[in-house]
Structure formats: structure tokens, C-alpha cells
């Protein structure tokens, strides 16, 4: 039990990422409102971003900007953060596109509920 607790305390960003990911995936799969699905997707992506950035972090590390006064400084790994910036850009575009589709669906069906839309379409 103590070992588990220790691991949890040391690796808490990963656990947070895991919980967020599960919340996101659960929302996507169980909610029928299109907006909630989209929010779930965004939560899930944030979880992955958190995990990636946590992987690049060094406790007590400095911001990765060259500091000539202190050449021995330990820098955190800037690569995951840079990569996740790209990931965020991608996630923004996905969100924008999904919102446009939701507006389109709302215009033609008058609802944002996936089940209701499926019913209306079959009619």
C-alpha cells in the first residue's frame, strides 16, 4: 500500500492524465448531446497533452532559455512542450470544424442531440 501511495505521489501528473482521459472517453461514449461529445474529446486531448508535458518535466529544472550566467543549469525538456503546441493547434482546428458541423446539423434538424437526429433522419 505504501509503495502504491509513493508511486502515486511521485507520478501524480500521469494519474491525473489517466483520470482525465477516462472522464473524456466516458463523456464521448455515453452522452448523446453533440456539444458534450465535443467537450469530452477536448478533455481527452488535454489528458494526452498533460501526459506528454509531464514526461518532459524535470523537477527543479529551469526554463529552457540559454542562461549564460549559469551554464550548469538543468533545463526541462522543451521538445514535448513544443510538440504539444502543435497538438493544441490540431485540437483547435478539430474543435472549430466540429462546431461548424454542429451548426449545420442544428440548422437542418433543429436539435443537437445525436439520438434525436438519428430518429429524424430515419423518418
Amino acid at each position: 500500500m505504501r509503495i502504491l501511495l509513493d508511486k502515486l505521489l511521485v507520478n501524480y501528473p500521469y494519474f491525473a492524465a489517466m483520470i482525465l482521459f477516462i472522464i473524456g472517453a466516458f463523456t464521448v461514449m455515453t452522452r448523446s448531446n453533440l456539444f458534450k461529445k465535443l467537450i469530452g474529446i477536448n478533455i481527452m486531448e488535454s489528458a494526452i497533452f498533460l501526459m506528454f508535458i509531464a514526461a518532459g518535466n524535470i523537477r527543479g529544472g529551469a526554463v529552457p532559455i540559454l542562461d549564460e550566467a549559469n551554464p550548469q543549469a538543468v533545463y526541462i525538456n522543451p521538445l514535448p512542450s513544443a510538440l504539444m503546441l502543435t497538438g493544441i493547434v490540431v485540437s483547435v482546428s478539430v474543435t472549430a470544424f466540429a462546431l461548424a458541423l454542429i451548426i449545420r446539423l442544428y440548422q437542418s434538424y433543429g436539435t443537437t442531440d445525436a439520438r434525436r437526429i438519428a430518429e429524424l433522419r430515419k423518418r
Binding site: 482521459f21 473524456g24 472517453a25 464521448v28 453533440l34 461529445k37 465535443l38 474529446i41 481527452m44 486531448e45 489528458a47 494526452i48 501526459m51 506528454f52 514526461a55 521538445l79 514535448p80 510538440l83 502543435t86 497538438g87 490540431v90 482546428s93 478539430v94 470544424f97 466540429a98 458541423l101 454542429i102 449545420r104 446539423l105 437542418s108 434538424y109 437526429i117 438519428a118 433522419r121
Partner: protein
């Protein structure tokens, strides 16, 4: 000049479609110019891919590598063009050219207005560029970015006709595909955590050294990547988005989606599985058994679902699910024969399925009917379209002398080599079921009396596109030489234990 182009060809085939795509919206008023640019780009892409393939064949499979920005491999992004990349590039180019021709003739009509048609072409070229990028890149994060570009373009293509049904299909596709990309990104994150590299070659070396220290992380990475790419390439239990999306899209879009897009993700999976994890690790983790099982289920289930559909495009879409099963089955058997078969089948299915969807699109556009039971007599009224459809169907079933046969034959030899009786049975049963869902369409079209309607073959550009695809099917079947050679070498290359 020529040597400059030759030296930079690996990056040109990727950036050319992307940058042409971005300047297209400024010409939206002159749709002819847009169509001309798109066709010219696909022709140039085809020439580039062919030239690269010949270079690689001459170099005896020695991959050409290219460092972006001049930064060497572990730090910079490296492109590497080997046999696998060439095969895939050729496949992308040979399919996207006829589809562009076909689209030039009917897109404005099908999506309603030149503005929307321009948007279609932008997405089309973006998809092409992303596919080319997937073929040549050897950087894990690049794979993610290109997968995202391809996914967004695919969703855009599905919803390009602006019908509510298409928007719904696109939304479902977008949600599931984004779930898939989140998983892919997670998998890449796990790999980066334990290896510290994003370059495939370096990550592979490091992974083989340290994986025994982190077995759980390796399992997590593998399963995340498998499910992520599985969703995107419509592996059976994860295929739910595909039939709606592919049947709601305009015909050229469904041709390119079913023919190419699905394969792009499969290529990425192959690269990640065999170039990063490596065949030894896959065998150690029994991953190949899982792939084989999933592949077999997909073949049978996809075919059975296809049998029950009456709408032509939905039947073809479910057929894609079944054919993706063949790809995964071949990966799972994991010997040189089966991998050759998988890679060749991938290429031939891309051409065949594009041909089928374009022919179906022409039929639906001419008759206004999308149910198979209403297509009596189409064969007599639209001889060329139906002939192309027949050639493609026969090839997909796997009759000798057509391209589908060679892929399936190699798969069958591979399953014999692996000693997997069940796989042999499934491959043959899959072919029989394939005949079961494609031949009735041909029977209805040719042997039932035609109504007195005025149905005609489409115009010359569309006919050219269809004939071009049929010719590709025949050429791949009759003289598979260089293509089979590329597939064989790529298969051997994938199986090298690092």
C-alpha cells in the same frame, strides 16, 4: 537543375500538393484554372513518384534519406524513401490522378457551385500531400501531424456536399477519428517516454535495448497505437463510422477515402509496428496473433454485412471493411509471403475500390437510383461504366490474371507457410463471399430487362478516368513485375531483425 530536383524529390512530392492546395482558394472564381492546377499537380506527383520508385529500384532498395533543414537524424526530421514508401507513393499517385480527372467533370455539379468545389479540391490535395508525407516520413510526431491533416481533410471531404446526412456522418467520423488520434498521440508519448527519440530508427534501437525494463509501458504504447490506427483504418469492431461516411460523401471523395485514406493509416501502423517495435518484439508480445484474429474477424464480418446491404455505395463501403481485414491478416501472419501479399493487395485494392466507387458514382448520377435492386439493365445502357465495374469486381474477387489475385495468392501462400489452417479457410471464404456480394450487382445490371429510361455513359473525362483505373487493374494483374518486386523487397525489409 535536374539534379537539384532529383536531390529534393522526397520533400517535393510532399510539399507540392500542400502548397498548391493553399493557393487554390484565391482562384475560386475561375474553376477551370483550379481543376487544371489540381490535375497538373497530380500528374507531377505521379511523375515524381515514378521517378523515385525507379531511383530506389536502381539503388537496390537502399533507402534515400533526406534531412529537413539539414539537421541530422536524431535531432531533425528525417524523410526516408525506401521500397515501402515508393510502393505507397505510386499507389497514391496512380489513384489520385484518375479521381482528379473524374472530379473535374462532375464536382461542381455534385457539391453545388464552384466555391464548394474549390473547397473540395483544397481538401483533396491536402489529403494527397498528407498521404505522401505518411509514405516518406520516418519521424513519429510527423506521423501524428500528417494523420491529423489527413483526418480533417477526410471529414471535410465527407461533408463537402453540404447535405445534412453528410454532415452527420462527418461529425460521427470526426469524433471517432479524433478519439483515434488522441490514442495515437498517447502511444507516441509512451514511446517517447521510454526511448527519448522520435526518429523511428533511433527509437527502435533504444526500444529493443530497454523494453524489458518497461513491459507495461510497451504494452500500453502498442495497444494505444493499435486501437488508434485501427479506428482510423476501419478495423472491424471499430469500423462503425465508415459505411455512413463513405456512402454519404460525393463519389470521387468516397473513391479516394475508401481507396487511399484507409490505407494511409494502415501504412503508418505498418511503419510503427515493424520499423519501431520490430518483428522480434511483436512476436515476443504475441501481437501477431491478435492482428491475425482481428483480420479474420474483419474479413468474415465485413463480407457478411456487405451481403445484406441493398444500397450500392454502402455495399462497397462494407467491402472495404472486409478488405482491410486482409491487410491486417497479412500483417499478423508476419512472414515475407504474407507481407508481400498484404502490400500488393493494399495497392491493388486502392485502384480497384476507386474504380468501383467511381463507376457506382457514374451509375447513380446517370440513373438517380442508389439501390442495387433498381439497377436492372444498367449494363446495356451504360456499357463502359459497367464494364469497368465488372473488371474491378472480378479483380477484387481474385480471379487469376487480375490484380486482386496476386495479392490474395501471396496471402494464401503466406498462411500456408505460417501453417495457419484457419487463415487459409478465411481467405478463401472471404473471396467466395466477395463474389457473393459483387456478382449479383453485375447479374442485375446485365441480365435483367432494362426500363425505357434514357441512361447514358458519362462524359469523356469521366470515361477516361474509369478506363484509366480499369487499365491499371489489368496492368497490375498482367505485369505485376516491378510492383511485386517493390512489395517483396519492402516485405523483406520489414522483417529484418534489428
Amino acid at each position: 537543375m535536374t539534379t537539384t530536383i532529383e536531390a529534393h524529390l522526397p520533400v517535393f512530392v510532399v510539399i507540392m500538393p500542400l502548397f498548391v492546395a493553399f493557393i487554390l482558394p484565391t482562384f475560386a472564381r475561375r474553376i477551370r484554372l483550379v481543376e487544371g492546377l489540381v490535375t497538373a499537380t497530380t500528374v507531377l506527383g505521379f511523375l515524381g513518384a515514378g521517378y523515385l520508385a525507379s531511383l530506389v529500384l536502381i539503388r537496390n532498395g537502399n533507402p534515400i534519406s533526406y534531412s529537413l533543414g539539414g539537421w541530422p537524424a536524431p535531432w531533425g526530421i528525417q524523410l526516408s524513401v525506401g521500397d515501402l514508401s515508393c510502393l505507397f507513393l505510386l499507389m497514391v499517385a496512380s489513384v489520385s490522378l484518375p479521381v482528379a480527372l473524374f472530379a473535374a467533370d462532375n464536382m461542381t455539379h455534385e457539391v453545388g457551385g464552384p466555391q464548394r468545389a474549390t473547397r473540395f479540391y483544397v481538401l483533396y490535395l491536402l489529403l494527397g500531400g498528407a498521404m505522401a508525407g505518411m509514405a516518406v516520413t520516418s519521424d513519429l510526431f510527423n506521423v501524428f501531424v500528417l494523420v491529423e491533416v489527413a483526418t480533417l481533410s477526410c471529414c471535410g471531404l465527407v461533408s463537402s456536399s453540404n447535405q445534412p446526412r453528410a454532415a452527420e456522418a462527418a461529425f460521427n467520423y470526426l469524433i471517432l477519428a479524433t478519439l483515434g488520434s488522441a490514442l495515437i498521440l498517447g502511444g507516441i508519448g509512451f514511446l517517447y517516454m521510454i526511448t527519448g527519440h522520435l526518429n523511428m530508427g533511433f527509437a527502435s534501437q533504444e526500444l529493443n535495448r530497454v523494453w524489458q525494463d518497461y513491459p507495461h509501458v510497451v504494452w500500453m504504447a502498442l495497444s494505444f497505437l493499435l486501437v488508434g490506427f485501427g479506428v482510423k483504418s476501419a478495423l472491424f469492431p471499430l469500423h462503425v463510422w465508415l459505411p455512413d461516411a463513405h456512402s454519404a460523401a460525393p463519389s470521387p471523395a468516397s473513391a479516394i477515402l475508401s481507396g487511399l485514406a484507409v490505407k494511409g493509416y494502415a501504412i503508418c501502423l505498418i511503419k510503427v509496428l515493424f520499423n519501431v517495435f520490430g518483428i522480434a518484439l511483436i512476436r515476443d508480445l504475441s501481437m501477431h496473433r491478435i492482428l491475425t484474429l482481428l483480420g479474420m474477424i474483419a474479413i468474415i464480418a465485413g463480407s457478411l454485412f456487405a451481403l445484406t446491404q441493398d444500397k450500392l455505395k454502402r455495399r462497397l463501403a462494407f467491402s472495404t471493411v472486409a478488405q482491410v481485414g486482409y491487410i491486417f491478416l497479412g500483417l499478423g501472419l508476419a512472414n515475407s509471403m504474407s507481407l508481400t501479399g498484404t502490400l500488393f493487395h493494399m495497392a491493388s485494392h486502392a485502384v480497384i475500390k476507386s474504380g468501383l466507387f467511381l463507376a457506382a458514382g457514374a451509375i447513380i448520377a446517370a440513373t438517380g437510383k442508389d439501390r442495387i435492386s433498381e439497377m436492372a439493365g444498367v449494363g446495356k445502357k451504360m456499357p463502359i461504366t459497367m464494364a469497368v465495374f465488372t473488371i474491378c469486381s472480378v479483380s477484387l474477387v481474385g480471379i487469376p490474371l487480375f490484380s486482386g489475385f496476386i495479392g490474395k495468392w501471396n496471402l494464401l501462400l503466406g498462411s500456408l507457410e505460417a501453417g495457419n489452417r484457419l487463415a487459409q479457410a478465411v481467405i478463401i471464404l472471404g473471396s467466395v463471399l466477395c463474389a457473393g456480394y459483387l456478382f449479383p450487382i453485375i447479374r442485375v445490371a446485365y441480365f435483367e430487362p432494362a426500363p425505357a429510361a434514357d441512361w447514358q455513359d458519362p462524359g469523356l473525362p469521366q470515361k477516361t478516368a474509369l478506363i484509366l483505373l480499369a487499365a491499371w487493374v489489368m496492368i497490375l494483374g498482367a505485369v505485376p513485375g516491378p510492383f511485386l518486386e517493390l512489395a517483396k523487397r519492402a516485405a523483406l525489409d520489414l522483417l529484418v531483425v534489428k
